[in-house]
């Protein structure tokens, strides 16, 4: 751990700090002395930054922006982490096993990855949300929590082939290394070769791309919200953006606040991914 922190420059430290703050807010958000994010303060709607009682102001509905940012972190980060962890784990497992086995299974898996990758993220997300979280009967209300789960599933499907392909490619470069042949010649079982030799060597690539994927997924959640299929009536950064999209020109700070937080989080996550890759890629080059 000390080795991991040791080489950080100022920018990376700042990114790590920001990311930790967001995670902390996501965890302790509900316990902070903040107004209810879903309760409008009609006395003070559309007030600016640093207004009394509303540090980041409110939007035109009178929703407290700070409270929404803090509580939105919970939803947005949970969606991002769950879809990246689940999509990454499944993608890596499928990619590694298929590359290790080669042959017909590998060709089919690769074809499926390519097909899914050829569909733009948002179109795929939209289609999945449309299938899983809409009802033909307008009187049936779909609860925000169900929407959250559906968006997680949709974004997992977006992440899975990306990380799956990375894992497959990385595995292909490792299985031809002589230590894998050596492991086989000493009678090691395939299962152990994968767990002891392939997985530890493929993981760094997965970690770094995983962090990039966190950024992509956070943005995708915002974009889906803007298109009206996100957690529109819930509390998330995307929901904040979509709520104020129409009145951007009248209450600009109600847009700037969530967008800034979202952008900083994406930048921080990308930077941490880059940093992790450079640190974990020990290779012979570090001699």
């Amino acid at each position: 751990m000390r080795r991991l922190l040791g080489g950080m420059d100022v920018f990376t430290r700042a990114c790590a700090g920001w990311m930790s703050l967001m995670v902390l807010l996501a965890v302790v958000g509900p316990f902070l002395p903040l107004p209810d994010p879903r309760e409008a303060d009609f006395e003070a709607s559309a007030v600016g930054l640093f207004s009394p009682g509303h540090v980041l102001g409110t939007d035109s509905n009178g929703y407290d922006l700070l409270s929404n940012v803090v509580n939105g972190a919970r939803t947005s980060l949970m969606i991002a982490f769950v879809s990246v962890v689940v999509g990454g784990a499944l993608g890596a497992a499928i990619g590694i096993v298929s590359a290790y086995r080669r042959g017909r299974i590998d060709r089919v898996v690769n074809l499926l990855f390519n097909i899914v990758l050829s569909i733009p993220n948002l179109v795929l997300g939209l289609a999945l949300v449309a299938i899983l979280a809409t009802s033909s009967d307008p009187s049936v209300v779909i609860s925000p929590s169900r929407r959250v789960v559906v968006i997680m599933i949709a974004l997992t499907c977006v992440v899975l082939p990306v990380l799956g392909r990375i894992a497959r490619g990385a595995t292909l470069t490792w299985i031809n290394r002589e230590f894998v042949v050596a492991a086989r010649s000493m009678g090691m079982r395939d299962r152990h070769i994968i767990l002891r030799h392939i997985v530890p060597n493929v993981l760094p690539a997965i970690y770094s791309v995983g962090f990039l994927a966190v950024g992509v997924v956070i943005v995708a959640e915002g974009a889906l919200s803007l298109l009206g299929v996100g957690v529109v009536d819930g509390v998330s950064w995307g929901a904040m953006i979509s709520r104020v999209a129409g009145e951007f020109t009248f209450v600009p700070h109600s847009m700037y606040v969530p967008v800034t937080v979202l952008a900083l989080t994406v930048i921080a996550s990308n930077q941490l991914g880059d940093y992790l890759r450079s640190r974990l890629d020990l290779r012979e080059g570090r001699l």
Binding site: E178, F179, V181, A183, M186, G187, H197, R283, E284
Partner: protein, 327 residues
């Protein structure tokens, strides 16, 4: 050249005996016959050197002995057991009697594992001994290959030089006390000054653990130092088999003679008088008819194109696959 045939097999108490081994690879546009009709036997305690230029099938043959992948036809008999007839668990267990040392010492070691785990890995796979016994064995092996256990145990492969990595590989390959050790170009990636150390080490290990060795190399000077029998290959076939003395002093095959002629002599005033080989080896996807060497052979005749030479004895213990052997 390019002989088939089994005249050079000695029968009797061979540790490892390969008969008519064929390995083919499917590549875009055809099939490569990487090893075709190769037979050999090794007596206990011998070192058989397999020599030839790049692409002649030496490494493929070495891996085929280990069944990685198994040959397309032919048999590999180790201590009376035909490895090609085994599969699954039986093959997994049988493989431990043959271990391999690879050409690239750095690529043969997982960069994420400590030396302790690397050397203990074969023992771990086969669940040999307790934790403490394994640790003692690892120390003994590291000591045997000339590394100070306390200094190296907790380091990783990228902290070592090529020669040190090769020592670690050798320690690991003898951990299961195999009967046969296949060394695939074990010193060609190393500095010349280190090569001699590793060759001496291999010789020590051979005596200490009673190993029988297959030594694959393209370097005739190295081979001369270690082998008790030499097998020369060209384009997947055997040219000549014999003891080093015979091969070096009176090579019967024109290819062997050209190979020996290509060994640099560290004296610019001496001339060898030998003509070097011209051209490239033909494509193994479409080898020449008859003798595979005829396209580059100074003595080639019509017969060489029509008829494939079989291995035959030209002097006691020396076998050559050539219609017109050198006198």
């Amino acid at each position: 050249m390019a002989g088939t045939g089994t005249a050079h097999l000695r029968g009797g108490d061979a540790v490892l005996k390969a008969t008519d081994v064929n390995v083919r690879f499917k590549v875009p546009g055809g099939t490569v016959q990487a090893v075709s009709g190769v037979s050999f036997d090794i007596m206990r305690g011998e070192t058989l050197a397999i020599v030839g230029e790049s692409g002649c099938g030496k490494t493929t043959l070495g891996k085929a002995i280990l069944q990685l992948p198994p040959p397309d036809s032919g048999s590999v008999v180790l201590d009376g057991t035909d490895l090609t007839s085994l599969s699954g668990e039986a093959l997994r267990a049988a493989r431990t009697s043959i271990q391999m040392v690879f050409q690239d010492p750095i690529s043969s070691l997982d960069p994420r594992m400590t030396v302790r785990n690397l050397v203990a890995e074969p023992l771990w796979v086969w669940n040999r001994g307790s934790e403490d016994e394994r640790d003692a064995k690892v120390r003994e092996l590291l000591d045997a290959v000339g590394l100070e256990p306390d200094l190296v145990l907790d380091r990783r492969s990228y902290e070592f030089s090529g020669g040190q990595c090769q020592r670690i590989s050798i320690a690991r390959s003898v951990a299961l006390e195999p009967a046969v050790l296949i060394c695939d170009e074990p010193v060609s990636a190393l500095d010349v000054s280190i090569q001699a150390q590793i060759l001496n080490l291999l010789q020590d290990m051979k005596e200490r653990y009673g190993l029988t060795m297959v030594f694959i190399s393209h370097d005739l000077a190295v081979v001369r130092a270690v082998s008790t029998r030499i097998m020369v290959m060209y384009l997947g076939k055997i040219c000549e088999v014999g003891d080093p003395e015979a091969i070096y002093s009176r090579p019967a095959h024109h290819y062997t003679s050209a190979l020996i002629g290509s060994v640099p002599i560290p004296d610019p005033t001496r001339r060898t008088g030998r003509t070097p080989l011209r051209g490239e080896p033909p494509s193994p996807m479409n080898p020449p008819s008859g003798c595979r060497f005829r396209t580059r052979c100074p003595a080639a005749s019509d017969r060489c194109a029509a008829e494939e030479p079989e291995l035959r004895e030209v002097s006691p213990g020396q076998y050559v696959a050539c219609h017109h052997p050198r006198g």
